[in-house]
């Protein structure tokens, strides 16, 4: 993808109110500091398995989820700490999950890649690339048939676009008129494979045309641009009941998972993208716009740090599930409650 394409992405038209800006900043900081801390915990062996950090991509989850209603539904992939935290899943609950503790949002069954929260309508946390897209269609189908006004926002990576499930889901959603916002977090790489090495036509949002689906592209390093683009797209989805494909162009600053040799991309490329780090970029804009002074920034940082310290302390202190419960929640004990 060319840098020009990024630069041509329109600026956010209007500034949201100061409180909303500060809320976005707080969430971006929470996600960034949470993941930095999670990486430390991984080094200490407190978190294990795979840990995919979205550092560099925070503006997408935070901006997008700010534009959703509380009853809208969210489907995410395995790089989804940002989505969970932005949706309001408590940092303590996510951290405890990654520590494998009973107090985790999935009682230690899922870990980093499988964060679920039914009350907040977060339907995972899916580690099968593109595995969430058909689910999003089904969630939206139920809402449509049952006459509910909700939108399902489905996050996935650029790599997922190569899977049949992406194409099948877009077609199904367009054909059946399903209220899904397909939100591609295009970070230019699927593991070690660069976008132009896995896509014959790398302008992802334009794939919507093949399914008569409206689409747009947005600068995923600009939280206000993301928020505005998602707000517009979601309004359209809610208004028409039809799906929408939004591509957010972003970049992952860290390795694919905790360790990889990063042989697949030049260091200068990473450094160039770091110049567009969404967090300092947003802070600078807020400061330039007179919406943030040093004291306010320090206060938010302190608040976030305290929340994360508390989350780690609680996760460390928490108990694990008893081994006797190994077979718990494999099948429902009786006929399930109807889900809302």
């Amino acid at each position: 993808m060319s840098e020009a394409a990024i630069a041509s992405v329109p600026e956010a038209e209007a500034w949201p109110a100061r409180e909303r800006c500060l809320a976005l900043l707080r969430q971006m900081l929470l996600v960034r500091r949470f993941e930095e801390r999670a990486a430390e915990c991984y080094q200490q062996g407190l978190i294990r398995g795979f840990l995919h950090l979205g550092i560099g991509q925070e503006a997408v989850a935070v901006g997008a989820i700010a534009a959703l209603e509380p009853d809208d539904r969210i489907v995410a992939a395995y790089r989804e700490h940002g989505q969970a935290l932005a949706r309001g899943v408590p940092a303590a609950s996510v951290m405890a999950e990654m520590f494998g503790k009973a107090t985790g949002c999935c009682r230690g069954r899922g870990g980093s890649m499988h964060l679920f929260d039914a009350a907040r309508r977060l339907y995972g946390g899916n580690a099968i690339v593109a595995g969430g897209l058909p689910l999003a269609c089904g969630l939206a189908l139920a809402d449509r048939i049952l006459g509910r006004p909700h939108v399902t926002a489905c996050f996935f990576g650029d790599g997922a676009v190569a899977e049949g499930e992406f194409h099948e889901s877009l077609n199904l959603a367009a054909l059946w008129v399903l209220p899904v916002l397909f939100l591609c977090e295009n970070n230019l790489y699927a593991m070690g494979t660069r976008l132009d090495r896995h896509q014959a036509m790398a302008d992802i949002h334009r794939k919507g045309d093949a399914y008569a689906m409206p689409h747009a592209v947005v600068d995923g390093m600009d939280v206000l641009a993301v928020e505005a683009a998602v707000r517009r797209a979601v309004e359209q989805v809610r208004g028409t009941g039809r799906p929408f494909l939004l591509e957010a162009r972003t970049y992952r600053f860290r390795a694919h998972s905790m360790y990889d040799a990063e042989l697949y991309r030049p260091r200068e490329e990473v450094e160039r993208w770091k110049q567009r780090d969404p967090l300092p970029l947003f802070i600078a804009r807020l400061q330039d716009g007179g919406r943030l002074d040093d004291a306010a920034l320090a206060a938010v940082e302190a608040e976030v740090a305290a929340e994360i310290d508390a989350a780690v302390a609680a996760a460390q202190a928490a108990a694990v599930e008893p081994v006797a419960d190994l077979l718990r929640d494999v099948v429902a004990p009786s006929s399930p409650e109807p889900q809302t």
Binding site: H114, A160, E321
Partner: protein, 336 residues
């Protein structure tokens, strides 16, 4: 004799195959620039070029299906699927095309294809990355299924699989990649299609394959200290199953424990124990026992995952149970 890891053994097998025959191509996600999700193809892109070491998009159904098509038309593709969990996206191509084309075409078509994939749990990567679904493929006529449990098998099985005119699924257990062992030149008459007795013994037969082999050998060591002499059979080929080796062993030991990291219900252990019952029921001095993974998706938390999987302790306990006479001598309190 050189000491190499299982991972390096796989890599050397791949390199040898690419060097030996121009028709061999390696296809899969991140096999090229990334060097393979498990680093099994490091350096091969540089050595053999992007035409023959092909990075595929995340399109398991398409690139596995393309491998089948390429095999039909004269190539010898090695397709890598990162893990068996993701192979489910290609299950249709494997089961409905690779396995059936020879038969449906009345013998006109041949699919000389090798599909390699990692399998197994033990790394806290939770339910979508940890399952052992070998038996799904072992169920299907038209496929052959190999599982490399040793460094030597990781080194030499690939060539045998490539030489076979059938589609072969070759399993590598993710926990075995760092395991080291001495590997010799290719043993004369190397034959991965038959089971191997990895440890001879008189008192009971432990039947296993893949990532469970080291656990079974460890259990056999423990049992030896208690006076129980267990034989360990590594199946190696899950389809067609080498029932002869298993039955011959059971006829000598009169006791069998099947160890499988897959689930017990409708699993490989069920197949083995049913075969023993059909063929050698009256040789048995005890019912066949099975040690399998708990009937749950693999959980993330370490203590739960460990509890879900077969362990040397569980295997040893199962053997003690089928060799009751001998355990009285070693009546130390047991873990389970």
């Amino acid at each position: 004799m050189t000491r190499i890891t299982y991972r390096e053994a796989v890599r050397q097998g791949l390199r040898e195959a690419l060097a030996a025959d121009d028709r061999v191509v390696l296809v899969g996600e991140d096999v090229g620039r990334y060097g393979g999700a498990y680093a099994c193809s490091k350096g091969l892109l540089d050595e053999f070029g992007a035409e023959r070491v092909r990075d595929a998009p995340l399109s398991e159904a398409a690139f596995v299906g393309a491998g089948i098509g390429a095999a039909l038309a004269g190539l010898l593709p090695i397709v890598e699927i990162m893990t068996v969990n993701f192979s489910l996206l290609a299950l249709d191509q494997i089961v409905n095309n690779a396995a059936t084309l020879r038969h449906m075409s009345g013998g006109q078509m041949s699919v000389p294809l090798v599909i390699r994939m990692a399998t197994g749990a033990g790394r806290q990567v939770a339910a979508q990355h940890s399952h052992s679904l070998e038996v799904w493929y072992a169920h299907v006529p038209g496929l052959k299924v190999l599982a490399a449990a040793t460094v030597a098998d990781a080194r030499w099985m690939l060539a045998a699989a490539l030489a076979d005119p059938n589609p072969v699924i070759l399993f590598e257990h993710a926990l075995l990649y760092p395991v080291e062992d001495d590997v010799d030149a290719r043993p004369a008459g190397f034959d991965p299609w038959h089971a191997a007795i990895r440890r001879p013994g008189r008192d009971a037969t432990i039947v296993t394959y893949g990532g469970s082999l080291p656990k079974c050998l460890a259990a056999a060591e423990t049992l030896a200290g208690e006076g129980i002499d267990a034989e360990v059979v590594d199946l190696r080929c899950l389809r067609p199953l080498d029932v002869g080796c298993v039955l011959e062993s059971v006829a000598r030991t009169h006791r069998a424990v099947v160890v499988d990291e897959g689930w017990k219900t409708c699993g490989l252990g069920a197949e083995i124990s049913a075969t023993i019952a059909e063929e050698r029921l009256y040789e048995l001095d005890a019912p066949v026992a099975r040690v399998c993974t708990a009937e749950a998706p693999i959980p993330y938390a370490q203590h739960l995952e460990t509890a879900a999987l077969p362990s040397a302790a569980r295997i040893a306990a199962a053997v003690r149970d089928v060799v009751p006479g001998k355990t009285a001598a070693a009546a130390a309190p047991r873990a389970e």
